[in-house]
């Protein structure tokens, strides 16, 4: 079961990072910056990938 959940969600850091990404997407859209969410999110994700790669 543990392996099943790890496959679905990864570890806590991975889960936390994706939660932040979703929160940023929601925040930008609610704040009326829907036009820019497609530019900000990929940059944020790529930065996160770089950080996660060093862990």
């Amino acid at each position: 079961m543990k392996a099943f959940f790890k496959t679905l969600f990864g570890d806590w850091v991975n889960l936390g990072f994706v939660t932040v990404v979703i929160a940023v997407e929601m925040g930008l859209i609610k704040a009326g910056y829907a036009d820019h969410v497609g530019e900000v999110t990929p940059l944020l994700i790529l930065a996160g990938v770089g950080w996660l790669a060093t862990r």
Partner: protein
């Protein structure tokens, strides 16, 4: 999104996972024979097939399409970010490349300690756990645009290709460029996750270029990932040199 995009992403991801599963089944077959080892693998594949059909049905129950799209996008991000980060780390030399020969030896050594029943379970669990990632991708990519048949077909073609290739060489498939595939698949899955979560939250207006944005996103994640890997590799080499100098 095109059928080919879904087919390619699923095929590549499934190939990587089936190669790992094949290595385990091959190692187990040396202990309990091909027939029982293949039986364990087929049992696991049957469980995965039932899961795929059942999940497809459950996901459509009572969920509005844009929430379904959002949920699948989140899972794709969870999955893709992990794959891409791992591929970047391996490309940069921060993490050892996956070695099928080593995996084969480890499984074989583990089997020497156990009995025949344990060996069957190792093959079953190996195929099931590697197949879980394939299941996730097939369900996720096949759901959004009702491309289930394309995604499931791609996973099956990958399974056939890996099985035939493996049976022909009768050895772990170490020549498969696993990290390059993981890099491409990671970028594609993160792309779908980014696109779908934003489209579900902000509507189609969030992507003025429509499906063309998918191509731009894949290129961005691939080139960006390679650039990050190059920077990390340079830093890693410099740190190694510095620590060698300090020692000498």
């Amino acid at each position: 999104m095109s059928d080919w995009g879904i087919f390619l992403a699923t095929f590549l991801a499934a190939t990587v996972e089936w190669v790992e599963a094949f290595t385990i089944v091959l190692a187990v077959s040396l202990t309990i024979g091909w027939a029982r080892s293949a039986g364990a693998a087929l049992t696991a594949l049957l469980v995965l097939a039932v899961m795929t059909v059942a999940t497809g049905g459950v996901l459509h129950l009572g969920l509005e399409m844009h929430w379904l799209q959002f949920a699948i996008g989140v899972f794709l991000l969870l999955f893709g970010v992990r794959w891409l980060a791992k591929a970047v780390a391996r490309q940069a030399g921060l993490k050892a490349l996956h070695d099928e020969e080593e995996e084969f030896e480890e499984t074989r050594l583990e089997l020497e300690k156990g009995d025949r029943h344990a060996a069957w379970l190792i093959a079953f669990k190996g195929v099931l756990l590697e197949g879980l990632e394939v299941w996730l991708i097939v369900v996720a990519l096949g759901m959004k645009a009702h491309h289930s048949a394309t995604a499931a077909g791609a996973a099956l073609v990958a399974l056939l290709a890996v099985t035939l290739g493996g049976l022909l060489v009768r050895a772990p498939l170490r020549r498969v460029p696993e990290n390059a595939i993981k890099f491409v698949v990671g970028a594609m899955i993160v792309t779908f996750g980014t696109f779908w979560t934003i489209e579900a939250l902000g509507g189609s207006a969030a992507w003025p270029l429509g499906d063309l944005s998918l191509l731009a996103l894949v290129a961005f994640y691939l080139l960006g990932g390679l650039a990050i890997a190059a920077v990390l590799r340079r830093r890693h080499v410099q740190e190694s040199l510095r620590s060698q100098e300090e020692l000498s």
